[in-house]
């Protein structure tokens, strides 16, 4: 199992800063190649933008696995525990009634509720985690390039690197390199 520190690092690795350089590339394949070059150059503060998911992007960018499945698992187990506690509290302690000649603790009847609550807790926690950890829903952010939401692909690199260095890393992969303020 990973340490708590690693989990925390994994959860909050998203860069909020926008100042730097944005280099547009022509195709998804170019974006993969560009991502590989930037990663190999050892740059820390950078990101890729694409209007569609690209297979192999995680490896090219050197991204580790998302922690969101673990959040889903923990909340699903929490939901299951709450479900079984609640229904068995009612049936055994608070309001015991014999239904259809079955015992008070009728576990087969609990399974659907257990399942539903696992799905409900796991599902809503996952959506919440995606929104919170991805810092989504912020409307004041300006787009770094208008084409990356329709047909353009771009690499963003933080301003700790000079424009010349960016051009040197990307070489002729970059269509154009512009500054983001």
């Amino acid at each position: 199992m990973p340490s708590l520190h690693e989990i925390k690092e994994g959860l909050f690795s998203y860069q909020e800063s926008e100042k730097g350089w944005v280099a547009t590339v022509r195709t998804p394949a170019d974006l993969l190649a560009a991502a590989k070059k930037v990663r190999e150059a050892g740059i820390q503060n950078w990101d890729c933008y694409s209007p569609c998911p690209i297979h192999g992007m995680d490896e090219a960018m050197g991204l580790h696995r998302s922690w969101i499945p673990f959040i889903t698992l923990v909340f699903a187990l929490l939901g299951a525990t709450l479900g079984i506690s609640y229904i068995s509290y009612i049936d055994l302690i608070d309001w015991s009634i014999v239904y259809a000649g079955k015992p008070y603790f009728s576990w087969p009847a609990y399974i659907p509720i257990l399942f539903e609550l696992s799905v409900f807790f796991g599902g809503t926690a996952t959506v919440a985690a995606v929104l919170i950890l991805g810092k989504l829903g912020k409307i004041s952010r300006k787009p770094i390039n208008n084409r990356i939401t329709s047909d353009g692909f771009a690499v963003w690199i933080g301003d700790s690197v000079s424009r010349e260095k960016v051009q040197e890393i990307l070489g002729n992969l970059a269509e154009e390199v512009s500054a983001v303020e």
């Binding site: 998911p53 297979h55 192999g56 696995r65 087969p108 009847a109 659907p112």
Partner: protein
């Protein structure tokens, strides 16, 4: 593209398995024929679901237009090669109808109103005709699918895929009906007074699960001996997900059947589960089945790393395959009685027959697999399959 060369030591192991199966089968019939017939039925049905599963998987991938699975399609199509031998065993089972099924006894039927009413369907000639019919249909469709698919290796004609989709669609439809009725005829009619609407779904869940487990075992074994280099961790991951899905599906169907029976509490429905969980040997057998068939594989397969690692996945697949056989034994033996006593399997005979089934299936399928190209080289989606990547 070279075809796969079967290593000599694999054949030796498979022949040893067939030998063990033959000896334990023969011994079983010598020691106790009353218990040997149900054991033989378990073996026959297990071999049947293994031989059908590959063609079903290939047809399913074909009609859904899946691209990732193209590299493993040839392995799935090869499983039909075990069907002719299986058909021989099923035909041998016809000699045991009288020992296995109570509806085949004229005196029992005459004194039993329900069996008397069901006689139009449950009678020996119609039973033999039906089961033989299913076997013929499965053999024709399975070999047709394989033949057309192999023809594309040389012609490289993209139109072949359209033809394969049509055959697959017909196969899926036929398979749904024939397998439903085959399950009812071969296994459910062992307890002809029992009513349920979910039995064929349950056997189908077993077929899917053992089929995927078999596919994983075949793919990883072939890879260990230098074949199927195109299959990567990405494909193993999807096979692992399939294995996980069918593990959960099996539990879902088993539980659904159990819960509905439990709620309604009708005598004609409950006695199936009652004979299996109320007392003694079968109570522990059922608990072991539920834990080892669902709970342990479920927890093991939650991990992503396990699903991507063929070496670990094949161990789980072997375990699941064995539990699928135990499940068939549970279905066959659980409700059987002889002279008022609950019938308990011989155990050693079933264990031997399991190895025998593996030996027969492995030998015939690998022989067929080694006769054609390892992957469908003429398929237009092959490249997409080889470049397949999972997203995180």
């Amino acid at each position: 593209m070279d075809s796969f060369k079967i290593p000599a030591n694999i054949n030796k192991i498979l022949f040893a398995f067939i030998g063990i199966g033959a000896i334990s089968g023969a011994l079983g019939f010598l020691v106790d024929p009353q218990k040997a017939w149900p054991g033989f039925l378990s073996f026959g049905f297990f071999l049947l679901i293994l031989s059908l599963s590959g063609t079903f998987f290939a047809a399913l991938q074909m009609i859904s237009g899946a691209k990732w699975s193209v590299v493993i399609r040839r392995v799935a199509e090869s499983t039909v090669a075990a069907l002719p031998v299986t058909a021989v065993f099923i035909i041998l089972l016809f000699f045991g109808i009288h020992s296995l099924y109570e509806w085949s006894h004229a005196d029992v039927v005459a004194n039993d109103h329900i069996l008397h009413q069901k006689e139009g369907y449950l009678n020996t000639p119609f039973f033999i005709a039906r089961v033989s019919g299913y076997l013929v249909l499965w053999l024709i469709m399975g070999y047709l699918l394989r033949k057309v698919s192999i023809s594309q290796d040389t012609t490289k004609n993209p139109e072949t895929r359209t033809k394969l989709v049509k055959i697959s669609a017909a196969y899926i439809l036929l398979f749904a009906y024939t397998f439903t009725f085959a399950s009812i005829d071969l296994l459910m009619s062992l307890q002809p007074h029992w009513y349920t609407t979910m039995f064929p779904v349950y056997t189908f869940a077993g077929l899917g699960l053992s089929g995927i487990a078999t596919l994983i075992i075949l793919v990883v074994t072939i890879q260990n001996y230098g074949g199927l280099k195109e299959v990567t961790a990405e494909h193993m991951h999807d096979l692992g997900k399939f294995l996980f899905m069918f593990t959960v599906f099996w539990a879902y169907i088993a539980f659904s059947q159990h819960m509905l029976t439990w709620y309604a509490n009708l005598p004609e429905e409950t006695y199936f589960i009652e004979t299996r969980i109320s007392s003694g040997f079968w109570k522990y057998f059922t608990i072991v089945l539920w834990i080892f068939h669902f709970l342990i594989p479920f927890i093991l397969l939650l991990s992503r790393d396990v699903k991507r690692d063929g070496k670990r996945l094949i161990k789980i697949a072997w375990f699941i395959l064995f539990m699928c056989f135990v499940d068939v034994v549970w279905l066959v033996f659980g409700g059987l009685e002889h002279d008022g006593h609950v019938l308990i399997p011989l155990m050693w005979m079933e264990a031997g027959l399991f190895l025998g089934a593996i030996g027969i299936f492995g030998y015939t399928v690998l022989q067929a697999y080694s006769k054609a190209a390892q992957i469908p080289v003429g398929d237009q989606n092959l490249k997409a399959s080889m470049n397949f990547h999972q997203t995180h």
